[in-house]
C-alpha cells in the first residue's frame, strides 16, 4: 500500500495538471492537438434550429465551425455521426456541485441559547446569516462522482453556489470536465445569491421569515450607507456592494415566497432570478406580474401510497392536487410567456431527471421550450451566452451526442463533450444493434433475429423464418463482442452463439454456434431492416386529464372565484350598530361591494332578492388580535426591539383558517406579531377575501399598526433557564427598553432632518419615528396594572400615543386612566389562570372598561376562538350585564374604531363596505350560525355552498386517490402518505420553522 500511494498521487497529479499553463510538468510535455470533426450529424444548434448532415469542428476547447457542407481540414480526427444528433450540452443554473452541501437551518428560537451578535471573528456583518463575502469559487473543487452523474444525463456546465445564509455571496459557473480546477472555471463570480434561510448562522436573529426579510432589506440599506462613509470597514458590506452588478439569484421553495422575494427586488430596483419550489402554477397570475425570471425544479412528487384507506385519509386535497399538477408547472410557465430555466436540483435522484423532463413535456411543455430552459435560458441568466447555451463558432465545445431527438422516449446520450473533452455517457455507444437480421442457425434452420430495447438494455427474440412463434434470446453485449443463447419451446437443447460485430454497413454479426458436444459451426446474421416493436400502452397515449387549479390552493379553495353581485336581503332583524339600533323586519341592499340601502320594503332594482325572514343581519366581525394566515413564525422575539419586521410581508393566503373564520362571521382580522418582545413587528389588517392573493387580502387604505408587549413573555419568565440572556428579565427593564428605543428614534429623526448627513436608514427606527409622527399606531399586549400604568406614563413623557392595549386583562383596574387618554382595550372574554400575570384576570373586565368609557373589544388570539367571537361577546352580557347592542359592538364597531376603519366597516350604514353576515338566530346566542358571510359584497361563506364544496372536494379526492392507485398498479414508485398539519399560532408561539405553506411531497 505504501508503495502504491505515492504512485497514485503521481499519476493523478500528472493527470489533473495536464494543460495547466502555469504549472510545472513532471517529465516530458504531452500536449495533444485536440482537433475533431464530427460529420454527418443532425446538429441542433439551438432550440428551433437544426442542420441536417452537418459538421462540427472542434479545436481544443472551442467550436471552430458548425454547418452543412463544411470541409474537414487536415489534422482533424473525423468522427462519423450518421443518424445521430448533436445538441448543446445542458446547463444547470442551480447546484452545489463541488462545494459543501446546503447548510442546515438552525432556527430554534425558544429552544436554544440566545446569541445576540455574530460569533465570527473579523470585520464581518453583525449577523452571521449575512455572508455575501462567501465565494463559491474559494471552496470549489471539481468532484468526479458528482460530475459524472450530471454528465451522464447531459449537463456540461453548472452554476454552483454555497447554499448558506440570507446573503450567500457569489456563485461560479464551471464546466463539468474534471481536468483541473483551474481549467473548468468558466465564470469565477457569476451571480449573487440570496434566500430566506439563515442557514448555519448561530445568531438568534432572524428566527422568523419576516425577520429574514427585514434583515435582507436592512442589509441593502446598510450597504447603500456603507458606500458613502469611511468610518468603518466591513468585509460583508464591501462584498455585498461588489456583487450588485452581477445577476441576482434568490432561492425559495414556495410560490408565495416567490412573491415575497420579488417584493424585495422591487424595493431596491432589482430583478431577481428566482429559484422556485415548483408550485408556481398555483398563483400564476401573480407570478407573471412579478416579471421575474425563474429557475424551476423538476421535483414532481411521487404518487402517494394510498392502498390503506386510513393512510389515504391523512392526505389533504392540496397535497393530492399538487401531486397531480406539479408536472404541469413548466408548461404553465411557457404558456404564460415567463422566462424560465430548469434545474435538476431538488430531485431525490438525478436518475429522475429525464423521466421528469419527459413528463413535463407530456403535460404540455414544448420540446423547444424545454431545450431552451436547459441551454440558452440558463446561459442567459448566468451572463454566459458568449460561451454557453448554443452551438456556434467561438463558443465552448460542450455538446452531447444522442441516438435520437433529445426528448424522445428511449433516446440515448452516447457522449457528452465538455470543453472539448469526451465523456462517454453510455457504453456500447459504438454500434446500435437494433434491427432485424436474417440468419441460419445450425440445425435450427433459417431464422429471423430481432433486436429491440435500447443499447445497454437490448431485448432480442428469435423465430423460425416461416413461423411467428418467438423465443426470447439472452443477448449479452460487451463492446463489439456478443453472446446469444436461447431455448426454443419444445426443443430439448439450447443454442449458444458467440459472435462479434463486423465493421461493415449494413450491420453484420459473425461468429459460431457452440454445440453441446464441444464442436462448433460458423454463424452469421445480416441486417435486413429496422425492428418495430409493438407500441406498448403508456400513459402518454391517453389524453391527459388534470383537475382544476383551485384558489387558494388549499382545502375549500374555489375553482371559480365568487363575484360581487347585487343582493337584497329581505325582512330580517338588522343590527345596525348605528343610532337606529336593531331594526325588525328590515331589508339590506348590497351592490358594488357597498351597502346601498337599509330600511323597510326596499326594492332592489335588478338585485337578487333573498328572503331573510327570521334571520339576523349584522356587520362582519372584526378580530383585533389574530395570528392566522401567516407563514413561518409569528414572533421575531430574538431582540427586544424588532419594529422592522412586518406581518404584511408574510401573509399566507392559503391558510384554511381564513375559510373557517368566515364560517364564524369574521370578515376582517388584525394580524399581529407575537408578544415575545417589548417592541414587536408591524401588524397587518386583512379582509378575509378567501382565494385572493396575499396582497389582495390586505385591507387597503388603513392605518399601520405595530405590536408592543409587556409582562411575562417580554421578560421571558416562562421559557426556562435557556432564556436568561436577553434584556429585559424584569418589568423594570421593560421600561428602559422603551426609553432607549424612543430616545434613539428621536435622535434618528433629528439626524434625518439634517441636510447632507449620511444617516444610515434604519428600518427599526423608521417604524418608531412613524409612531412619534402619529403615522403608526400601537397595540400593546399587556396584563397587569403596574406595567400598563408604566407604559401610559412613559408614552406621556416621551410624546407618543398608545392606541390600544390588547389582552389587557387587568384593564379593569385602570379603566379610568385609559379612558382619560382615549386608549382602547381589546381583551379576552374569560381567559385566566394560565400564568402568574393572569391570576386576577376576570371576565368582568370588558364590562368594567366599557362602562368607564374605554372603547372595548373582545379579541381572539386563537384560530378556534375567532370563529366564535359572537359567543365570546355574549359572555359580557353574562359577566357584568352589557345590553345586547353594547355586547355586539365589542366584536364589530369597537374593534373597527380602534383600528381606525369605522368609516368603512363595523356597522351597517349606507356607503360602508358590504362586510355583512346573515345569522340563523340572534348572533349572541350559542344557537346562532353564520349562514352567509359577505366581504366587499362577495359571498365567501354560505352554509349551503359549503356542503356543495365539500361534496366536490370529496369527489376530487376520490378521483385523485383512484389515480394514485392506478400509478402504483403500473409499478411506479410511490411515497408514503404523510400528514401535513396546519400550524396554529398564538401570541406566545416562539417557533417559526414550520412548513405549513410548502406544498411538496
Amino acid at each position: 500500500m505504501r508503495k502504491i500511494l505515492p504512485f497514485c498521487l503521481l499519476f493523478f497529479s500528472f493527470y489533473f495538471l495536464k494543460g495547466q499553463e502555469t504549472f510545472p510538468v513532471n517529465g516530458s510535455h504531452d500536449k495533444r492537438p485536440k482537433k475533431y470533426a464530427f460529420v454527418n450529424a443532425n446538429i441542433i444548434t439551438k432550440a428551433g434550429q437544426s442542420i441536417k448532415n452537418g459538421t462540427l469542428l472542434v479545436n481544443d476547447k472551442v467550436i471552430e465551425a458548425v454547418g452543412a457542407g463544411q470541409k474537414v481540414p487536415a489534422g482533424y480526427i473525423t468522427i462519423d455521426l450518421a443518424g445521430k444528433f448533436i445538441y448543446p450540452s445542458l446547463i444547470d443554473p442551480f447546484t452545489t456541485y463541488g462545494v459543501p452541501g446546503e447548510a442546515k437551518e438552525t432556527r430554534s428560537f425558544g429552544r436554544a441559547a440566545q446569541v445576540l451578535t455574530s460569533t465570527k471573528n473579523g470585520p464581518y456583518a453583525w449577523n452571521e446569516a449575512v455572508r455575501p463575502e462567501t465565494r463559491a469559487i474559494d471552496v470549489f473543487t471539481h468532484d468526479q462522482k458528482q460530475a459524472e452523474q450530471l454528465k451522464k444525463i447531459g449537463f456540461g456546465a453548472v452554476q454552483t453556489l454555497v447554499k448558506d445564509g440570507i446573503a450567500r455571496g457569489s456563485s461560479a459557473v464551471v464546466a463539468l470536465n474534471t481536468n483541473s480546477d483551474n481549467e473548468v472555471v468558466i465564470i469565477p463570480d457569476a451571480a449573487a445569491h440570496y434566500s430566506f434561510d439563515k442557514g448555519s448562522a448561530k445568531t438568534s436573529y432572524p428566527a422568523s421569515l419576516m425577520g429574514s426579510i427585514a434583515l435582507l432589506r436592512q442589509t441593502y440599506y446598510d450597504a447603500q450607507w456603507y458606500q458613502q462613509q469611511k468610518k468603518e470597514f466591513n468585509i460583508s458590506l464591501e462584498a455585498f456592494n461588489k456583487w450588485q452588478s452581477l445577476p441576482q439569484f434568490f432561492e425559495v421553495n414556495d410560490v408565495l415566497d416567490v412573491l415575497r422575494a420579488d417584493k424585495i427586488a422591487k424595493e431596491f430596483g432589482k430583478q431577481y432570478i428566482i429559484k422556485t419550489g415548483g408550485n408556481d402554477y398555483q398563483r400564476i397570475k401573480e407570478i407573471k406580474a412579478t416579471g421575474a425570471s425563474l429557475v424551476v425544479p423538476l421535483n414532481f412528487p411521487k404518487a402517494y401510497d394510498v392502498e390503506d384507506p386510513y393512510e389515504a385519509n391523512k392526505l389533504s386535497l392540496a397535497q393530492l392536487k399538487h401531486w397531480e399538477l406539479a408536472a404541469s408547472n413548466p408548461a404553465t410557465l411557457e404558456k404564460e410567456g415567463i422566462s424560465f430555466a430548469l434545474t435538476a436540483s431538488g430531485l431525490d435522484n438525478v436518475r429522475d431527471f429525464w423521466p421528469n423532463v419527459r413528463k413535463a413535456i407530456q403535460y404540455g411543455l414544448s420540446e423547444d421550450a424545454a431545450l431552451r430552459a436547459l441551454t440558452e435560458t440558463p446561459a442567459a441568466f448566468l451572463g454566459a451566452t458568449d460561451r454557453l447555451g448554443t452551438l456556434e463558432k467561438g463558443k465552448l465545445a460542450s455538446f452531447i451526442i444522442t441516438s435520437d431527438s433529445l426528448f424522445k422516449e428511449g433516446n440515448i446520450i452516447y457522449e457528452n463533450w465538455v470543453e472539448g473533452d469526451k465523456y462517454v455517457a453510455n457504453q456500447g455507444a459504438g454500434k446500435d444493434l437494433r434491427g432485424e437480421y436474417a440468419s441460419t442457425i445450425d440445425d435450427f434452420g433459417p431464422a429471423k433475429l430481432a433486436i429491440g430495447g435500447k443499447p445497454g438494455k437490448y431485448e432480442a427474440f428469435i423465430s423460425k423464418a416461416d413461423d411467428t412463434t418467438k423465443t426470447k434470446v439472452n443477448l449479452v453485449v460487451d463492446g463489439d463482442l456478443l453472446s446469444l443463447s436461447f431455448n426454443p419451446k419444445g426443443a430439448k437443447k439450447s443454442y449458444r452463439i458467440s459472435a462479434y460485430v463486423m465493421a461493415t454497413e449494413p450491420l453484420q454479426l459473425k461468429g459460431e454456434v457452440n454445440r453441446e458436444d464441444g464442436s462448433s459451426t460458423a454463424w452469421s446474421a445480416s441486417y435486413t431492416g429496422a425492428y418495430t416493436q409493438k407500441a406498448e400502452k403508456n400513459a402518454g397515449d391517453k389524453p391527459l386529464e388534470l383537475g382544476k387549479i383551485i384558489y387558494p390552493f388549499a382545502s375549500f379553495g374555489y375553482e371559480q372565484a365568487p363575484q360581487a353581485t347585487a343582493i337584497l336581503l329581505k325582512n330580517a332583524t338588522v343590527w345596525t350598530n348605528e343610532a337606529e339600533g336593531i331594526l325588525e323586519g328590515a331589508d339590506v341592499l348590497i351592490a358594488d361591494g357597498k351597502i346601498k340601502a337599509i330600511g323597510k320594503n326596499l326594492s332592489g332594482g335588478g338585485a337578487t332578492v333573498v328572503d331573510a325572514s327570521g334571520k339576523h343581519i349584522t356587520a362582519g366581525i372584526i378580530d383585533e388580535h389574530s395570528h392566522i394566515a401567516i407563514s413561518r413564525g409569528i414572533n421575531e422575539g430574538t431582540q427586544s426591539v424588532t419594529a422592522e419586521v412586518r406581518i404584511g410581508d408574510i401573509i399566507n393566503s392559503e391558510d384554511v383558517n381564513i375559510y373557517r373564520q368566515l364560517a364564524g362571521g369574521v370578515t376582517s382580522s388584525h394580524i399581529l406579531h407575537g408578544s415575545a418582545n417589548a417592541i414587536g413587528g408591524q401588524s397587518q389588517l386583512i379582509k378575509l377575501r378567501w382565494g385572493k392573493s396575499p396582497e389582495e387580502l390586505k385591507f387597503g387604505g388603513s392605518d399601520g399598526f405595530i405590536k408592543f408587549a409587556l409582562g411575562e413573555n417580554v421578560k421571558q419568565s416562562n421559557w426556562g433557564d435557556i432564556a436568561r440572556v436577553r434584556f429585559p428579565q424584569t418589568r423594570m427593564g421593560v421600561e428602559q427598553v422603551y426609553v432607549d428605543a424612543f430616545t434613539r428614534a428621536k435622535e434618528y429623526k433629528a439626524k434625518l432632518a439634517m441636510k447632507g448627513s449620511n444617516t444610515r436608514r434604519d428600518l427599526e427606527l423608521d417604524a418608531l419615528v412613524e409612531i412619534l409622527d402619529n403615522k403608526r399606531f400601537i397595540t400593546c399586549h399587556s396584563y397587569v396594572q403596574s406595567e400598563i400604568n408604566m407604559l401610559m406614563h412613559l408614552a406621556d413623557s416621551l410624546g407618543f400615543k398608545i392606541n390600544t392595549f390588547t389582552h389587557i386583562l387587568e384593564g379593569y383596574k385602570l379603566a379610568d386612566r385609559m379612558a382619560a387618554r382615549s386608549i382602547a382595550g381589546a381583551t379576552f372574554a374569560d381567559w385566566w389562570a394560565y400564568k402568574m400575570e393572569v391570576q386576577e384576570a376576570i371576565p368582568y373586565n370588558a364590562y368594567l372598561m366599557e362602562k368607564q368609557g374605554v372603547v372595548t373589544a373582545i379579541n381572539s388570539d386563537d384560530a378556534e376562538m375567532a370563529r366564535r367571537l359572537n359567543q365570546e361577546a355574549a359572555k359580557v352580557i353574562k359577566y357584568g350585564g352589557l345590553t345586547e347592542e353594547e355586547a355586539w359592538k365589542l366584536v364589530t364597531l369597537n374593534p373597527a374604531k380602534m383600528l381606525h376603519i369605522d368609516n368603512r366597516v363595523g356597522s351597517l350604514k349606507v356607503g360602508k363596505d358590504a362586510d355583512v353576515v346573515v345569522w340563523s338566530d340572534n348572533p349572541l346566542t350559542i344557537y346562532a350560525r353564520a349562514e352567509k358571510t359577505f366581504v366587499d359584497g362577495v359571498k365567501y361563506w354560505d352554509v349551503e355552498e359549503d356542503q356543495k364544496l365539500r361534496d366536490l372536494q370529496q369527489k376530487e379526492k376520490a378521483r385523485l386517490i383512484a389515480k394514485s392507485l392506478e400509478e402504483k398498479g403500473k409499478g411506479n414508485a410511490t411515497q408514503k402518505a404523510t400528514e401535513k398539519t396546519t400550524m396554529v399560532y398564538h401570541c406566545e408561539t416562539l417557533s417559526g420553522d414550520n412548513n405549513e405553506d410548502v406544498n411538496h411531497n
Binding site: F556, Y659, R660, A833, L848, Y879, Y927, T981
Partner: protein
C-alpha cells in the same frame, strides 16, 4: 412567624371588610341541609331527556324527594319561587386537572403529572386542592362535580369524582379512585405533523408490550386475594377486574381506537374512550362493543384541513345518532366553566337540546359510574342542582342564581365576582 401570620390574616380581614368584600377564604363550604326545600314554578330539565314545564322539585336531607308538576308536590319547610326560571342537574366535568393545577406556568403549583410511564398507583384525590381559587368560578356556571384526573405517561394513575364544595378532599370525595387512566400508545404529533414515524412505530410496539405485560400481570395478581408480595401498581387494577373501577383509555385516531378496544377486550374489559377525535369514523364498531365515550371539547379546530369546518361542533350529534353513550370533556381546569357551552354548541349543530344536556349530566354520571346518585333530577338521587335565570347552555341565559350540592345551599361567590365588586366600588358603580 405565627404572630406575623396572625397579623397578616387580621389585616386582610380588615381590608376585606373595608372594601365590602368577602375574600375567598371566607367563602365557606355550605352546611348540611337541615330542612326540606321546594323549588316551584321552574322549567325542570331532568337530564334524562324529560322536561317538566312549571314543575316543582323537593329535596330533603340531601336527597330529591319529589320531581313533577306542582300539583302533587309535598310540602316543604322552605320554598323558593323560580317562576320562569330553569332547574338543571349539576354539570359534571370529567377528566380535568382541576385542583391539581393552580397556575399553569408555575411549576410549584402543578400536581397533575407524575414522573414515569406506569403510575397506576398514584391517586389524584389526595392532591386535590379544595381551596383552589378556580373551583368557585366553575360552580357559578353550574359545574358542581368533577372527575379529578392525573395526566402524563402511559398509565397516568387514578382519578376520583369530587363535588365542588368542600373543606378538604376527604369531604369532597364523591367517588374515590373511580378510574384508572391510560394513554394509548400512538403517533405523537408535533406542530409539524408526525415526525420520524418509523421510530415512533417502534416505540408504540414497545409501549403496547409494556401494557400487555402489565395487564397480564395485574390479572394474575388480582386473582389472588392476598398476594404474597404487595405491588401497588398491580393492586390498583383489582377493582378494574371486578368491574367496580373504570378503565379510561385516552385515544384519538381511528386505528388506535380499534386497537385499544380490542386490546382491553381481550382482558374482558370494556374501556371508556376519552378523546376519540376519530370516533365518528368507527361509531358502529364502538356501538357493537358498547363503548361509551368522553369526547374532546367541541371548541376545537378540525384535525384535518379537508374536514367539515364544523366537524368538532357536530361530533356529539354524529355519535349520539349512532346510539353511543356520549359525554363532553374539556381541556384544563379554569376552562371547565365553559362546559355548559359545549353542550350548547352540540345543540346548535343539531343535537336535541335535552340530549345535549345529558352530555354534561346524566351521560357523564353513567360513564363515571355515579348515575345512581347524580346526573339527573330523579327521586332518590342527591340534590345536586341549580337554578338558572335562563337557558344554562347558552352564555346569554347562563345566570346561576342558586346551587345545591347534596342539598346544601352553596355559595356562588368567587374571586372574580369579588374583584368585580371591588372595582365597581372604585368607580362608584355600586
Amino acid at each position: 412567624m405565627q404572630l406575623i401570620l396572625k397579623y397578616i390574616s387580621s389585616l386582610s380581614l380588615f381590608l376585606s371588610i373595608g372594601c365590602y368584600l368577602q375574600a375567598q377564604p371566607t367563602v365557606y363550604p355550605a352546611k348540611a341541609q337541615t330542612s326540606a326545600i321546594s323549588i316551584k314554578g321552574a322549567t325542570i330539565h331532568v337530564g334524562n331527556g324529560q322536561v317538566i314545564p312549571n314543575g316543582t322539585i323537593v329535596f330533603d336531607q340531601g336527597k330529591i324527594t319529589y320531581v313533577g308538576e306542582g300539583a302533587g308536590a309535598p310540602a316543604a319547610a322552605q320554598s323558593i319561587d323560580a317562576q320562569g326560571k330553569h332547574i338543571y342537574p349539576g354539570f359534571i366535568a370529567p377528566v380535568t386537572n382541576l385542583g391539581l393545577v393552580e397556575v399553569e406556568s408555575v411549576r410549584a403549583t402543578l400536581d397533575n403529572t407524575e414522573v414515569g410511564e406506569n403510575n397506576a398507583h398514584v391517586r389524584a384525590l389526595i392532591a386535590y386542592n379544595t381551596d383552589s381559587k378556580v373551583i368557585n368560578t366553575l360552580r357559578s356556571n353550574g359545574v358542581l362535580l368533577a372527575q379529578v384526573t392525573p395526566e402524563g405517561g402511559l398509565v397516568t394513575g387514578q382519578s376520583s369524582v369530587v363535588q365542588l364544595d368542600a373543606w378538604n378532599w376527604e369531604d369532597a370525595a364523591y367517588k374515590t379512585d373511580d378510574a384508572i387512566h391510560i394513554n394509548w400508545p400512538s403517533i405523537r404529533y408535533s406542530r409539524f405533523g408526525a415526525t420520524n414515524e418509523a421510530a415512533q412505530k417502534e416505540r408504540i410496539q414497545q409501549e403496547r408490550g409494556i401494557l400487555s405485560d402489565l395487564l397480564k400481570d395485574a390479572k394474575a395478581y388480582c386473582e389472588v386475594d392476598n398476594p404474597a408480595v404487595f405491588n401497588g401498581r398491580l393492586e390498583a387494577f383489582r377493582k378494574v377486574f371486578d368491574g367496580t373501577k373504570k378503565l379510561m383509555v385516552h385515544v384519538d385516531k381511528k386505528n388506535d381506537i380499534i386497537a385499544a378496544v380490542q386490546f382491553f377486550g381481550a382482558f374482558g374489559l370494556k374501556p371508556v374512550l376519552v378523546g376519540g377525535a376519530d370516533a365518528h369514523l368507527v361509531s358502529s364498531f364502538l356501538k357493537e362493543n358498547e363503548i361509551p365515550i368522553i369526547i374532546h371539547q367541541a371548541h376545537s379546530l378540525p384535525s384535518n384541513d379537508d374536514d367539515d369546518v364544523n366537524l368538532p361542533y357536530k361530533q356529539a350529534k354524529l355519535l349520539s345518532d349512532a346510539g353511543l353513550l356520549v359525554a363532553y370533556g374539556m381541556d384544563g381546569f379554569w376552562q371547565q366553566r365553559n362546559l355548559p357551552f359545549m353542550a350548547g354548541t352540540a345543540a346548535a349543530f343539531g343535537l336535541d337540546k335535552e340530549k345535549a344536556l345529558a352530555t354534561i349530566t346524566l351521560n357523564t354520571a353513567k360513564i363515571l359510574g355515579v348515575d345512581q346518585t347524580t346526573g339527573s333530577l330523579e327521586k332518590g338521587k342527591d340534590a345536586n342542582l341549580f337554578i338558572s335565570a335562563g337557558d344554562a347552555l347558552d352564555m346569554k341565559g347562563n345566570q346561576i342564581e342558586k346551587a345545591f350540592i347534596v342539598g346544601r345551599d352553596i355559595s356562588l361567590e368567587n374571586l372574580h365576582k369579588q374583584l368585580f365588586e371591588r372595582y365597581e366600588y372604585k368607580y362608584g358603580q355600586k
